[in-house]
């Protein structure tokens, strides 16, 4: 049951997307997210969806994995859709007691949930094709210019690396503690909400304690290897932009340009 979490799980591969520089991918993801909020018309949403599918196709990922990445948030997506449908302003299409459905509501609801799905898909694509270590390298490199205004780029990247590194370890630990407590007759799946929350304590407390112990040990091990922060550290894998990254940047620029034209083009022409 604890193996279901796909967000942040790297799927090894050798595609165009896998080989891109992490900085390009991170920036492209941000630009795509911005593009999602530019989009208004149905056509622009269609273009965005097509773009995501083309990218996913290029990444050569199993479609099932991609769909699975939406799973953790489907409740929120459905909720968004529902709230927009029932609270939309405009001409009522259908009415039952206090519930009113409007055309505008449906359109807005679909748009909002599409936005959520697009955001989820693109961020999953980033994490599916980029290993966590490379990803944090990219983030560190992107944040380096902001060091002058006091952004602790290296420290942030190191924190992320450590956090990511320990996710599988903690999952394993949770699984083990759950087994140990169920061997002592603990029951995690019955009772009301409060009872269930209380039943989680025998898992959470040992988990916290072992996390602190691990943190302590890790800090000690890092100090023993003379870790003194980012100053003067060199790295084994230097990040270098290639021609591939140019191609990706062009693709992204074209997408944004098309979306901008679709949104403001009309007024531009009018002038």
């Amino acid at each position: 049951m604890l193996n279901d979490i796909t967000l942040g799980q790297y799927y090894p591969g050798n595609s165009f997307l896998h080989k891109l520089d992490p900085r390009t991918k991170i920036l492209a993801t941000f630009f795509f997210m911005a593009a999602v909020f530019i989009a208004e018309s149905a056509l622009s949403y269609g273009i965005l969806l097509a773009f995501v599918f083309i990218v996913a196709f290029m990444a050569k990922l199993p479609w099932k994995m991609l769909l699975k990445s939406i799973k953790p948030l489907w409740v929120i997506i459905i909720l968004t859709l529902g709230i927009h449908i029932f609270t939309g302003q405009g001409e009522p299409l259908w009415q039952w007691k206090m519930f009113t459905v409007t055309r505008e509501g449906i359109v807005l609801g679909v748009k909002m949930s599409l936005r959520l799905i697009l955001l989820l898909l693109i961020s999953s694509l980033l994490t599916f094709t980029t290993s966590p270590i490379v990803l944090t390298d990219g983030i560190e490199s992107l944040l380096t210019p902001f060091k002058k205004i006091g952004v602790p780029a290296h420290e942030l990247a190191m924190m992320m690396t450590i956090a990511l590194r320990f996710i599988p370890t903690l999952l394993e630990e949770t699984d083990r503690i759950m087994k140990a407590q169920s061997a002592r007759g603990a029951d995690f799946s019955s009772g009301n909400l409060i009872q269930r929350a209380k039943n989680m304590l025998p898992i959470l407390i040992p988990l916290f304690i072992s996390s602190f112990r691990r943190a302590d040990e890790l800090a000690m091990a890092m100090e023993a290897r003379c870790y003194r922060g980012g100053k003067g550290r060199t790295r084994m894998h230097q990040l270098v932009y290639g021609s591939r990254d140019g191609v990706a940047a062009c693709g992204m620029a074209v997408l944004i340009l098309v979306l901008c034209i679709l949104k403001w083009g009309g007024t531009l022409w009018a002038i």
Binding site: N3, A180, A183, R184, G185, D187, P202, I203, P206
Partner: protein, 287 residues
Amino acid sequence: MSIDVKNISYTYMAKTPFECQALDQVSVTINKGEFVAIIGHTGSGKSTLAEHLNGLLHPTTGAVYVDGIDVNGKGADAKKARHQVGMVFQYPEHQLFAETVYEDIAFGPRNSGKDPDTVDAAVRSAMEFVNLDFATFAQRSPFALSGGQMRRVAIAGVVAMEPDYLIMDEPSAGLDPRSRNMIFAQLMTIFKKRKMAVILITHSMEEAALYADRLLVMSGGKLCIDGKTSDVFINDEKTLEKLAVDVPESFKLAEELQQQGLPLKGAILTEAQLVKAIAKAKGWSGC
């Protein structure tokens, strides 16, 4: 009264690229009153087998019966059967959570639905078994104890459920020799007094030779050897070597001595047996 494992196989992460068969057609019967040691190198399926015995893992194929009841079944019967099998995991002190030693040990018996007086009695007797003084330790925080004491509290937490079958996964890992001996001495006492079955998973051949009557040797998810401890070490030495399983140090030393010309007789698996055999061969008296 026995645990019957009927032809179980288990595959981790089935239908993914990370698929791994951990158990392959294992069948074994463990009777009450037996002290069984499961040995085998890392990844041979020892712990996976143990986790099947009380229904923590569901076999992909096959079934496990405790006193004739399928442990993977639903209903009160199956639950009761699972409670008959106590399991002490590796590093059990990592599962402690309660504010006091008393509360932690009482967790298991309370979950079995025992009334407060029975729980209290079970906690007291479990603490006595692991040699923790009730007056001194009951109200202390389990996190303020030493490593050996924490482990004893954790073991007491399982013993307090009064299982008929007790599985221990490397109970002595990471302990100093004194705590190790203490844990085993107490284990033998409970074993003899309650006439339960003890299933010990271990990497130490000395422990297996010293305490177990019966030996199960696992390799590659299969049960390769099942027999009396002394028979297995003496008759199957070649097979054991092939399975990357060691024999006890005393056994090796006795062989060495025999090759050097010292006529040692009888089965020699433990230090005590070795000392006795040497004394006899040398004609020393008083040993």
